[in-house]
């Protein structure tokens, strides 16, 4: 089994394989903005943060936005419980991230970039600063007018949301903005801004260098390319692995399970819970369950009530608190489940809560509040007995 995993990784390693960074720089210098955007679009690369917005379309929109000033932001605020793959990329392959930013900058016409680093990753700061210095000079040497700066996050989960992140860089309270307008037209300091996460940028660098076809040949029609996964929970092997998108949950379970997996949480706290009976059906990818990369396995020793309460506790703390459905909804889901579990509310109240979760999904201002419905509905539906009794 471990053999299979090794073989898979070998086959699909893009970020983890050795590459020639100066070759990538040359590719960026040589290619026109249009060519860069074209390659990215053809590759089918979609945002690796979870939402999966096509990267090529994002860059094109920012390129077409008229402005004398534009920005590229690397979202290194990885805060999803159960994910730590960006940390690994930043630690071992930060060159790729900086090169990806440079490619984005060239594509859209930005001269300044920011890396917004999660507060908890402060230990990486000296190392990244060193790299930034080195690459800023490298860019200069190649007459690329692009400078990268580092900004530290303050540890709020919502600052992973791109507009909250922008507010935070601007020195404001980290609260998501109203959208539209989107950052590609009005972002940092109201200038067009591309925000991509660490992994997306690393892949972008590779695609600009190698062309779209290799990347596009991996995965499925809707979910192209390789993807970093953080495997945790009741798994026999844990860690960060680069695997193709579009796998069945079962395939993953086969690779990592301790033999007793009853549920897999895909996409961290804001993702979906897949029960054993659906392992063979569900696809990990944009045609199935999109994910930022966190995969948590649960075996039969786990209480799914506890799991759900943990998530809800997390959300009711981490909601930025500005919009009603999320601020109040998270509290109500938490208290409601607790009340059902302890018998203070009848079983039927669960329907009320599921309706509430669905309402949050279409009314909350940002992805945080909208995605609480994912774990809530999937866990409470599939593990109703564990929740209620």
């Amino acid at each position: 089994m471990e053999n299979t995993l090794e073989k898979l990784q070998e086959k699909f390693s893009l970020i983890f394989s050795v590459c020639d960074h100066s070759k990538i720089v040359n590719a960026i210098v040589k290619k026109s903005p249009e060519e860069i955007i074209d390659e990215i679009t053809k590759s089918g690369l979609r945002g690796r943060g979870g939402a999966g917005f096509p990267t090529g379309i994002k860059w094109k929109a920012a390129k077409e936005a008229e402005s004398h000033q534009k920005y590229v932001i690397c979202n290194a605020d990885e805060g999803e419980p159960g994910t730590f793959k960006d940390r690994k990329i930043l630690r071992d392959h930060s060159e790729l991230v900086l090169l990806g930013m440079c490619a984005a900058a060239k594509a859209i016409g930005a001269t300044t970039g920011y890396i917004y680093l999660r507060g908890e990753y402060a230990f990486l700061k000296p190392q990244i600063e060193e790299k930034i210095k080195e690459y800023n000079e490298l860019f200069k040497k190649h007459s690329i007018d692009f400078t990268v700066r580092l900004r530290m996050g303050s540890g709020a989960y919502v600052c992973g949301e791109e507009s909250a992140l922008i507010e935070s860089i601007e020195g404001n309270r980290g609260e998501p903005r109203n959208k539209p307008p989107f950052p590609v037209t009005r972002g940092l300091f109201n200038f067009p801004t591309v925000v991509n996460n660490v992994e997306t940028l690393a892949y972008a660098a590779i695609i600009v260098d190698e062309g779209a076809s290799k990347f596009a040949s991996i995965g499925t029609k809707d979910s192209k390319g390789s993807k970093m996964f953080s495997i945790s929970g009741d798994a026999k092997i844990k860690g960060v692995f680069e695997l193709p998108l579009g796998m069945k949950v079962q395939e993953l379970v086969d690779l990592f399970s301790d033999g007793d997996t009853k549920a897999v949480q895909i996409g961290g706290a804001s993702g979906f819970c897949v029960p054993r009976k659906l392992f063979k059906e569900r696809i990990i990818g944009f045609e199935g369950i999109p994910t930022g990369g966190s995969i948590i396995l649960f075996n039969s020793s786990r209480s799914m009530y506890r799991v759900l309460m943990n998530y809800l506790d997390f959300f009711k703390e981490e909601s930025c608190g500005q919009c009603t459905p999320c601020r109040v909804g998270c509290q109500q889901l938490y208290l409601g489940i607790k009340a059902i579990h302890s018998g203070q509310k009848p079983l039927q109240y669960l329907h009320e809560l599921q309706r509430l979760a669905s309402t949050m999904a279409i009314t909350a201002k940002c992805g945080l509040g909208q995605s609480v419905a994912n774990p809530f509905i999937s866990i409470s539906e599939h593990f109703k007995e564990e929740i209620c009794y």
Binding site: P181, E317, S319, Q322, L356
Partner: protein, 590 residues
């Protein structure tokens, strides 16, 4: 202007392309409920009750934030929209202490109104009221966090309109609250007591501290002689507070109502507004004379001092410029000081048993009346301050049918006033009134504007400026002949700050600046009827200028009672008695 076509509820409409869906719908006569939205403020989009469906979008969209676009298709009234709005109101109520029957905002509360319209079940969700703390430390404002829906209207008001930022959103998640610096009580933070936050709070979370019971007690006490004064702006808003329409002048009915309530003397703050013009006008001339004729170093521009919100603001934020502020007390405080001295003597009443009440458009006046220096009569000069809203409540409590009241006149003395005093109620009014008098003192001629209406200082622009060249002076002011006096007017403290930054930087070319803390001046004061918006303020201001035109005397120095008080009591402007009773000093505040 570019326009776009969009479809709302299956009807096609054409609207300007800078509209939001909310604006477009409103224009089409389609109501969409709102809570965090306010005409005066930037859009927040956080309450989510204004959600609508946009074709092609999975999630609902907030109509207050959504810009119209060509071909857009919107539904404002689907089953889904109604259900979702209802759920949101129910969520808000779950963290809300909804004891409407004992709430000051009962009957005038946007949350309550929505709860009624959507027939919500207030107990659907588990109650989670986290903050029961009621902050009544301020003499003007009560902040009750258990009623707050976190719409941030107050935060945006305080920051954008007033540039004070006393309130902000603190913490996150279930701990989110509207807090002050370090959660200190309101009277310990930088707050001007302007009450603009109250005017925009959709619930009972921010209300004025009311002194209705104290006033009833005084009225019911046989021993007490209760004198009431009414500010200029109240006469054009009291009807509105009673639900009788915006922009109605009801001076006569106001007087009648106060008499029915049992006040022993119904007098007019407008009288001391006229007096302020005499004192402040002379102070201005004094400063200008020193500066221009004697080449002395005096603080110019001089700024007005009748707005207590503005005074507290400058004490906090520009203490280095306090010398620029006129030393005149506000008309309210001049009135209080004279009521318990001059008036008491004239009417032979022991000032110790006199209670002075003022009816003000302003919450900061409550603070002002309680300042320790405001005891120059030997007693507390002004005992209680009621807002327009509080007076309306008293009139209702007394069962007075306001509309049926006859028009009555103020008592005398200290009841007569002029058009110049009335316009104190609108932004620019003090300046206009002062110029009418100052110009005439200097030249012996009327200010050269048609019908005395100095229109450049009128209006709702944040900062307005005007200049008047003085021609043909009296001999004693010959040094002013040909001098162009430059004046400016600002309302709303953010605009005041713009002018003060210039003064601080030494870049101000003005001689005289009028500042009112509230948008629109006193007609938009923190104690005025709720709701408020630009249209409403304009209507109130129009009524003010109409009241001016209706009065037989329109210049403060021609008020016969003013002439009389100088003859009998004060002797001369800026004289010794004026100094003790009518002028004051300011202090730096942290």
């Amino acid at each position: 202007m570019k326009t776009v076509m969009l479809t709302i509820n299956d009807k096609k409409f054409e609207v300007p392309d800078n509209y939001t869906v909310l604006q477009a719908a409103k224009e089409m006569g389609i109501q969409i409920p709102t809570l965090c939205y306010h005409d005066d403020l930037c859009v927040a989009g956080n309450c989510r009750v204004c959600l609508v469906e946009q074709k092609g979008m999975r999630a609902l969209q907030t109509s207050c934030t959504l810009q119209v676009a060509p071909g857009m298709t919107i539904y404002t009234n689907t089953r889904r929209v109604r259900e979702v709005r209802k759920t949101i109101i129910e969520l808000l109520l779950s963290e809300h202490a909804d004891n409407c029957t004992s709430c000051y905002k009962n009957g005038n509360c946007e949350l309550q109104q929505l709860a009624k319209e959507y027939m919500v079940d207030g107990n659907k969700f588990i109650k989670t009221i986290r903050y029961w703390n009621i902050d009544d430390s301020s003499p003007s404002i009560i902040k009750d966090d258990s009623k707050c829906i976190k719409c941030t209207r107050c935060v945006r008001t305080c920051e954008q309109l007033q540039s004070v930022s006393a309130l902000y959103s603190a913490h996150k998640g279930d701990h989110t609250k509207i807090a002050t610096f370090f959660d200190k009580p309101l009277d310990e933070v930088i707050c001007t007591n302007c009450g603009q936050c109250i005017n925009r709070c959709p619930t009972g979370a921010l209300i004025e501290k009311n002194y209705i019971q104290e006033v009833w007690d005084a009225l019911d006490n046989e021993e007490k002689f209760v004198v009431v004064q009414t500010a200029p702006a109240v006469r054009v808003s009291i009807a509105e507070a009673l639900g009788i329409g915006v922009g109605k002048i009801s001076t006569g009915k106001l007087v009648a109502a106060l008499r029915r309530l049992g006040f022993d003397a119904v007098l007019d703050t407008d009288f001391t507004a006229d007096l302020t013009i005499i004192e402040e006008g002379n102070e201005f001339l004094h400063r200008v004379t020193k500066a221009i004729r004697d080449k002395q170093n005096v603080a110019l521009p001089m700024t007005t001092s009748c707005s207590p919100g503005w005074i507290k603001f400058i004490e906090h934020k520009y203490p280095d410029l306090l010398a620029n502020v006129s030393t005149c007390k506000s008309p309210q405080q001049m009135f209080g000081a004279l009521a318990k001295t001059f008036y008491a003597q004239k009417r032979n009443i022991d000032p110790a048993r006199m209670v002075t009440v003022s009816i003000m458009p302003c919450t900061a006046k409550k603070y002002e009346a309680n300042r320790p220096e405001m005891y120059s009569s030997g007693y507390k000069d002004v005992d209680y301050v009621l807002t327009t809203r509080e007076l309306a409540l008293m009139i209702q409590q007394a069962g007075i049918d306001f509309e049926k009241l006859p028009e009555e006149d103020y008592d005398s003395i200290m009841g007569k006033s002029t058009g110049a005093a009335v316009i104190f109620g609108a932004t620019g009014g003090v300046m206009e009134a002062a110029l009418r008098t100052v110009y005439e003192i200097v030249t012996g001629k009327e200010v050269p504007f048609q019908k005395l209406n100095i229109t450049p200082v009128r209006g709702m622009e944040g900062v307005r400026a005007a200049s008047i060249t003085i021609n043909g002076t009296k001999p004693e002011y010959s040094f002013l002949d040909g001098v162009t006096v430059k004046v400016a007017v600002a309302h709303g403290l953010a605009n005041a700050a713009r002018l003060m930054d210039e003064v601080r930087a030494g870049k101000s070319s003005y001689h005289f600046i009028e500042i009112m803390a509230c948008p629109g001046g006193c007609i938009g004061g923190g104690g005025q009827p709720i709701p408020t918006n630009l249209d409403i303020r304009k209507k109130r201001a129009e009524a003010i200028y109409e009241a001016d035109m209706q009065l037989p005397i329109r210049k403060s120095h021609e008020n016969p009672e003013i002439k009389q008080i100088y003859q009998e009591f004060l002797k001369e402007p800026l004289g010794h008695l004026s100094h003790t009773l009518l002028h004051t000093h300011y202090s730096k505040r942290l």
